[in-house]
Amino acid sequence: MLKYKGIKEIAGSLIVVEGVSNAKYEELVEVELPDNSKRVGRVLEASAGKALVQMFEETRGLTPESSKVSFLGKTMTLEASEEMLGRVFDGSAKPLDGHPYPILEKNLDINGSPINPYCREYPDNFIQTGISSIDALNTLVRGQKLPIFSASGLPHSLLATQIARQAKIAGNFSIVFGAMGITFEESRFFIEEFKKTGALSRSTLFINTAADPVIERITLPRLALTAAEYLAFEKDYHVLVILTDMTNYCEALREVSAARKEVPGRRGYPGYLYTDLASIYERAGLIQGKKGSVTQIPILTMPEDDKTHPIPDLTGYITEGQIMLSRTLYQQGIYPPIDVLPSLSRLRDKGIGDKKTRKDHPGLANQLFASYARGQEIKELTVILGESSLSETDRAYLRFAEKFEEKFLTQDLYENREIEETLMLGWELLSILPKEELKRVKEEDMEKYLNKEQNETKS
């Protein structure tokens, strides 16, 4: 292999190599320092006689004159293996748990290839997370990409581990967890939490802390998804991929884009942010004839709690809904602080109902939703008009909204609610409201479930 000595420029994590004859776009590059240590990078732009290379590691210590550059003739790959389960890796897939790298089963390009839309299977199977506000109202469906929109200071990490711990799918189930730019404490927390609850044995963790190279934040989700795709489509696992925090990922992308002097789009993020995020999120899905599935829960923190910020905004345009966390709810001491009104699971209606969850589920979900929305509206009115001006019905709505937050939304970090339990809880709350107000549930379901418990206690 040819080694070049022509580093012309080093700026941040970018280097320019001259006198190169055959660099390929996205090809991997190895730079050998005078002390024989090696660092890896990737070609960002290949021109005649010149290559722009993005280093994955620090460029500190690189000397233009004496460092040697070799082009490896391959693009970045992941050595995938079923043995990756139960293991922890960093952003360049090096083991962090002190064990050797598992035996290679298949070498895969980390960028993957787009799933042919013709081959996709439509996601319509329910995943139980054991969290009422998700299961009943914003149902997660196998093969879906459903992000959590959080903000700094909110318990999204706790929620992520709770979902990882409780999620239930029939068949082989595993979790791929990718963490980008998190703190050391957080990374400890995640690893410990996975170990403590025994979830680690069915999980693969990829962790890039804030102290690790920025560029690895860009490759990490791709490594995680490549591993997930391998497990799902070659080993028949149902894989749940949790990625946190996508905001750090986007920041890293912006940093690299700025270093390349690209024309910035909104708020300095590159114009291709949408396409780039899509190349991650769209890797969720089901394929006809394959047993496994890839489901994604990306987590992002909205800067300044602003939903219109480019990161949540573009994410929302790609993903199939969003789970919104609310600071107001959290300040009221409600965990998980999921604000159900702006939350949405676009695939919910296909994943619930008869034979999937229960026949009354769709109607019940709509009713709970509408009633809570009405309750919130009345609450706002009450602030101006005072409770005395409310009608009897309005007061019932107010009481409903209160109980809904207290009993339905609120649940313990270790409380795993079966879907039946969640649905019955919903009916119980609906009994607060006058029967005539329940327009969205079917008559027959009302007879069957409403006041059932009260009837039982009476008799």
């Binding site: 996205e26 081959c119 996601p123 024309v263 949408y274 769209e282 219109t308 910020h309 709509n366």
Partner: protein, 568 residues
Amino acid sequence: MKQSQGEIIKVSGPLVVAKNMEGASIYEVVKVSRLELMGEIIEMRDGIASIQVYEETSGIGPGEPVHKTGYQLSVELGPGLMSGIYDGIQRPLKDLFKNSGDFITRGINVPSLDESKKWHFSPLVKKGDYLEKGDLVGEVKEMSIMHKIMLPPSSSGGEVVSIKEGDLTIKDTVAEIKSKDGKIEEIKMTQKWPIREKRPFSQKIVPKDLLVTGQRVIDTFFPVTKGGTAAVPGPFGSGKTVVLHQIAKWADADIIIFVGCGERGNEMTDVLKEFPELKDPKTGRPLLERTVLIANTSNMPVAAREASVYTGITIAEYFRDMGYNVALMADSTSRWAEALREISARLEEMPGEEGYPAYLGSRTASFYERAGYVKCLGSKDREGSLTVIGSVSPPGGDLSEPVTQNTLRTVKVFWSLEDRLAYARHFPAINWLNSYSLYMDNLKDYFEEKGGDGFLQEREDAMRILNEESRLEEIVRLIGFESLSSRDKLIMETARAIREDFLMQNAFDNADTFTSFRKQKKMLEMIISFYKKGQELLSSDESIDNVLNLPEKAELAKAKFINEDDIK
């Protein structure tokens, strides 16, 4: 002819620069590298060509060859298009699957149309007839539509010297035409057309027909004509795609072209799964049989995304030329604009607003201008229409951004989707106060004829009541509903009925998903007559509670769930 070849000098994402490209024309298709990736020249300077490549470019480097092809990026038009699903450059996804499996890999060349399938060709002209370009030569039954075979616009026309009938492939010659100067032209069932050029027609006509979409808020309040243009901007989660899907399902067009441009893969799967099972209310045949899908999802190459809307509209024009009413949905045009921006940035062009190229406005306008109601090319009077409906995904729901603004300058109908309504689960979340349709004048005759007396008046009354409501809402917020006068209470309650019982429509309910214009008219009539009756009763000192408890009021809520066949 063997074309000379160029050499790559730079690769940067989807943009490849090559030298020694003298003689190539701008927008010519080229094959890039040893993998023969498809690309299109978008800039030429002194023999140096900038090429946008329609496939992933990783692993490609300087020194590799670039082959010229001599043709422009074109689509192949002929029998076999219906119910197909293609990527942005008209490669059938089904055949890509056969070639490369579940994931799309690179450098696959597959014909756009099945070349071996036999179609039964029935001639519509006989030997000795004289034909002009655009005239019908024959037809082929393709699923539920008659696929007309036309003399291509490039033909010079002439006398039919031979014509066949029987089972033929698209490669076979079906007729021969002798032009005035004695040249014989062979006519096949297919023709090629460059996607960036609009297909010719003989003249445009002012559209006067309603495109019935079966969506009440659209047909009654913000209608679009056959041959019209409409835009659906809205933040995420406001239901743009559902609106487009609903129109694709129920619109009374003959042919639907659905372009999934940079959107979700699962949405295309949804269409593929659902459309074969749904029946076209007009023909009773599966909806997929009148649909062509172009799917270039968000993770597929960005340059092909740019091409996908043109591929779609060229196919749409082709069916229009046969004399059909065609409707094209593009979801989402913002992703198309972003693809333009990305390529433009790589070309290091001077950016306009928000990094979009300065030509965004003219490109958008010329795209929508390809819609219209036309007299088709040819000697016979044949009319066809192409309706274009595009969704727009404004960042943060902010309508002041360039793509929305450029679109609104061009289109005539604006359906404003709001997340506020979507949160309240008011679907379709089309805001009734700021949406508009500029086709009301064109449609006046239609509405007077089909809607009978009073429809336009009732529509106006309903709009007035909704406007009143928004004014009264302010007051209610301050002093409460109970403090309103009886008349105002009646307005509020009627407005609520209009919103909940008329504007809101459940796409997932079998009876409610589609409402014929006849039923829409009836429903509106019921609401307005309840309002009028209420007003009368109030004048004769009836209490508001009694008015609101009228049996007519309860009927309103049930109306939408009455089946089309059971309407009195």
